[in-house]
């Protein structure tokens, strides 16, 4: 652990990533206490302060109905991070199991599973998510389902390629000669060697899930008002550009910071965990 921290700290970019992520996570967790206007995450209306630029009272300005944008961004981080975590907690294990079985067992299991993965990968992710949301109601839960459906195949492909090369390692041969059960070899021998790459990818993906989820809500397909979401805030503000620039720029920057932070941290982890490109 201390070694990991030392490696991350020795690279200013990774350190910046770690600090950014910690900052965002803290902001999301403590939003109700940190936000200057903790009630502004709902359908509050305060026309006295509507459509104001950044000021001492509202650091990032206010929206059309007078809600504090800074407060809403903090709450929006809660939604984004929660969504990212749920998506990855489902997508990563599903993809991992599929990839592991395909990569280690080979043969027809590999053909069937990986062709299925190819089918999913051949559809552009955003299009797939929009299609899913077109069938289902555009709610937060359904947004999560949509993003999860398009996300697991990437894990399947990652784990598949690692498992395939690990299959050739001597320790797998040793376990096979001993006659260990297939499940033992796949999950206890091969899987631990895939974990560093999976964890790194999950970190990098947090940023991308946030972008995709924001894109969906930007299109009006994700989180519905009045719940604050970075994507829908950008969408809403975009109509009033360039005059009310703060409505778009600050939520946009918030997305950028989150994605940037998780990417830098992911690159740092890659180094710590010794994952090859």
């Amino acid at each position: 652990m201390t070694r990991a921290l030392r490696i991350i700290a020795s690279n200013p970019m990774s350190l910046a990533g770690l600090l950014l992520v910690l900052l965002i996570v803290a902001a999301a967790i403590f939003a109700p206490w940190v936000a200057p206007f903790p009630t502004h995450n709902t359908a509050v209306i305060d026309f006295a302060y509507a459509n104001q630029g950044p000021s001492a009272r509202n650091w990032m300005g206010t929206d059309l109905v007078g809600r504090d944008i800074f407060s809403r961004i903090l709450y929006a981080y809660r939604i984004s991070l929660g969504l990212g975590i749920v998506v990855l907690i489902i997508a990563a294990p599903v993809g991992t199991v599929v990839g592991l079985l395909a990569g280690y067992l080979g043969g027809w299991t590999e053909s069937v599973l990986m062709r299925l993965v190819d089918v999913f990968l051949s559809i552009p992710p955003l299009v797939l998510a929009i299609a899913v949301l077109g069938v289902l109601e555009p709610t937060l839960t359904n947004a999560m389902i949509a993003v999860t459906v398009m996300w697991w195949p990437w894990y399947a492909r990652l784990v598949y390629s690692i498992a395939r090369s690990e299959r050739e390692e001597g320790y797998v041969l040793a376990a096979e000669v001993i006659g260990a059960p297939t499940a033992h070899i796949a999950f206890r021998e091969v899987l631990p060697n895939c974990l560093p790459a999976i964890i790194t990818k999950m970190t990098l993906d947090m940023g991308f899930v946030i972008i995709i989820a924001s894109s969906l809500s930007f299109l009006g397909l994700g989180v519905q008002p009045p719940t604050p979401d970075l994507g829908s805030m950008v969408a809403e503000g975009a109509r009033y550009l360039p005059d009310s620039w703060w409505m778009t720029v600050f939520p946009g920057l918030a997305i950028l910071l989150a994605v940037f932070g998780f990417n830098l941290l992911g690159d740092g982890l890659r180094e710590v965990l010794g994952v090859d490109e």
Partner: protein
């Protein structure tokens, strides 16, 4: 007398998270023009990093701390600018690696790779001239059909064939010094024996000096005029091959010798893996060529 290669008090450390780890503790090594010298040691003894320093490759590594003098042909490699060092490689000194197939570029024909090597020395050389010269070299390493080999890609040739190509390529620019790092270890024994014999004859004919790096005492005995034994970053014994093999003086060399299995079936004597005696002062055999 002046040596072609003269290494004095060479030290090397690597900077890691926990300070500097020293891997070479002051090595002295000299090679006269045309001399075949072996540096023999086990893995981690520092023999390969020594070769990389001579090639000027480690001086540029960020974590490496190199000190001491490495004089090649009267010039100090360590203090030379990086560009000049790069110019020496492949012209004045060249190298043969352990695995011939992976050290050749799989995407170019042998002929093209030859041309590239030759143009390092004579940039204006035409492809026809290169091919002619390459054919001569390939014939020298007993490749019967040089034209076919020149138009082939490395993966179309056997490991033994690639090894010969490597040898020919390493010598085509008439280098003064050839560094051979465990050549042929990846090959079958009979192929290895054959290529070593070829290499031996060839460097003798061309008067090329060789630093032969190996862990295999038997191979060293057959190839080298003089031997350095390296153990944990220190030279522990030096002398003419015959004298050193017939009468090893250092405890470490003696342990190595007795640990080598013999085809005469002398059995497997009890030999320590490590011992304080291995750190005893260096033994130098007199009457050597140097």
């Amino acid at each position: 007398m002046s040596a072609l290669l003269d290494i004095r008090d060479l030290r090397l450390g690597f900077k890691g998270l926990r300070g500097i780890t020293e891997v070479l503790h002051g090595i002295d090594l000299a090679i006269a023009a045309g001399e075949r010298v072996a540096l023999v040691g086990e893995s981690g003894s520092g023999k390969s990093v020594t070769a990389r320093i001579i090639l000027g490759l480690l001086q540029e590594a960020r974590a490496a701390r190199v000190s001491g003098a490495v004089e090649f042909d009267g010039r100090d490699i360590s203090t030379m600018p990086a560009r000049q060092r790069a110019k020496l490689r492949g012209t004045e000194m060249s190298m043969i690696f352990q695995d011939p197939t992976s050290s050749l570029n799989p995407t170019f024909t042998i002929g093209r790779q030859f041309a590239e090597v030759m143009r390092r020395r004579q940039p204006e050389m035409s492809r026809e001239a290169c091919d002619r010269r390459a054919s001569e070299m390939l014939a020298e390493v007993s490749i019967p059909d040089p034209a076919r080999v020149l138009s082939a890609y490395p993966f179309q040739l056997s490991g033994g064939m690639n090894q010969r190509v490597m040898i020919a390529m390493a010598l085509v620019n008439h280098p003064k010094l050839l560094l051979a790092d465990e050549p042929g270890t990846a090959l079958d024994v009979s192929v290895q024996a054959l290529t070593l014999r070829l290499m031996h004859d060839l460097v003798e004919r061309h008067g090329t000096a060789v630093l032969f790096i190996s862990h295999n005492l038997g191979v060293v005995r057959e190839f080298a005029d003089r031997v350095y034994v390296i153990y944990r970053g220190r030279i522990v014994e030096e002398g003419p091959t015959r004298a050193l093999f017939d009468n090893p003086g250092h405890a470490y060399t003696r342990a190595l010798m007795s640990a080598v299995p013999r085809i005469t079936g002398a059995g497997l004597p009890e030999v320590p893996e490590v011992s304080d005696d291995f750190l005893a002062p260096m033994v130098r055999h007199t009457g050597g060529a140097a």
